[in-house]
């Protein structure tokens, strides 16, 4: 592509488009599928706020990731992690 206005058609296939009817509802659907107690309102103070709770702790995809990251030397800082706050820093 070297000119504006040209389009490349990709051979993609989506499962279905039903999600477009409620694009922000996936977290509510996931919660509604559980039989556990209501989600803690970490995303807001409003009752009935079923958005996914948020946490100030890093959320690792796997335990192995967490173990590897635990080796990070906060004194020299992770050069690839810009803007991180050390875990023992005072809360602003």
């Amino acid at each position: 592509m070297t000119e504006p206005g040209s389009v490349h058609h990709l051979d993609l296939r989506y499962i279905d488009d039903d999600w477009k009817a409620a694009p922000l509802s996936w977290s509510r659907k996931r919660q509604n599928a559980k039989d556990s107690a209501p989600v803690a309102a970490a995303s807001g103070d409003k009752p009935g706020d079923t958005r996914t709770p948020r946490s100030a702790e890093p959320v690792y995809q796997t335990a192995d990731d967490a173990a590897a990251a635990a080796l990070v030397d906060w004194e020299t800082q992770c050069l690839a992690c810009i803007g991180l706050v050390p875990p023992d820093a005072p809360t602003p």
């Binding site: 922000l24 807001g44 996914t52 100030a56 995809q61 990251a69 690839a80 992690c81």
Partner: protein, 176 residues
């Protein structure tokens, strides 16, 4: 809702309707009892887009993604207004990429990180001659930041600084 399928689209029929995130966001906030979602307004600032000065095949591309991608060995993003960024070498194998986010279903992205961080795809485009090359680094952040001010004052300057250091011809922003 328009029930036109992808196959119908390929046959030249009506295009699929987009997901109405604006209406859905307003509805959600209204339902929660908030005063109303306040959108960031930059209409008084000039658009940052510029026409390409050279063909794509000669362009060096910087990938910037907001899907919370990090590399194995890096500290993962947290989900409470994390304004940090990660620098990911573009030679990183896809099996070393991870995601940390709260505002989208990460199952597909964790199965194939190219869903939110199309690094393999970009490499293929370079190999095919469609793109001139990739910058040595790609930049990622966790886009679920509720504070517009912190995004503008913390995250964006960090991205801009690394972006300018890479001096790309083109930036590909992959939002989630």
């Amino acid at each position: 809702m328009n029930d036109v399928s992808v196959n119908e689209l390929r046959e030249g029929r009506s295009p699929l309707p987009p997901a109405d995130y604006i209406a859905e966001t307003r509805r959600l906030y209204d339902a929660l009892g908030y005063d109303g979602y306040r959108w960031a307004d930059h209409t008084d600032e000039p658009a940052a887009f510029q026409p390409l000065a050279k063909p794509l095949s000669a362009c060096r591309v910087l990938l910037v993604a907001s899907g919370g991608i990090y590399r194995h060995g890096q500290i993962a993003f947290h989900t409470k207004d994390d304004t940090s960024i990660r620098v990911i070498p573009t030679e990183t194998p896809s099996d070393e990429l991870r995601t940390a986010h709260f505002a989208y279903d990460q199952a597909d992205a964790r199965s194939d990180p190219n869903c939110v961080f199309p690094l393999d795809v970009l490499h293929d485009l370079v190999a095919d001659g469609e793109l001139g090359g990739l910058c040595d680094e790609a930049l990622t952040f966790m886009g679920g930041i509720y504070s517009t001010r912190r995004l503008e004052e913390d995250t964006i300057p960090r991205i801009l600084e690394r972006c300018r250091a890479q001096a790309p011809d083109l930036v590909l922003l992959v939002p989630v």
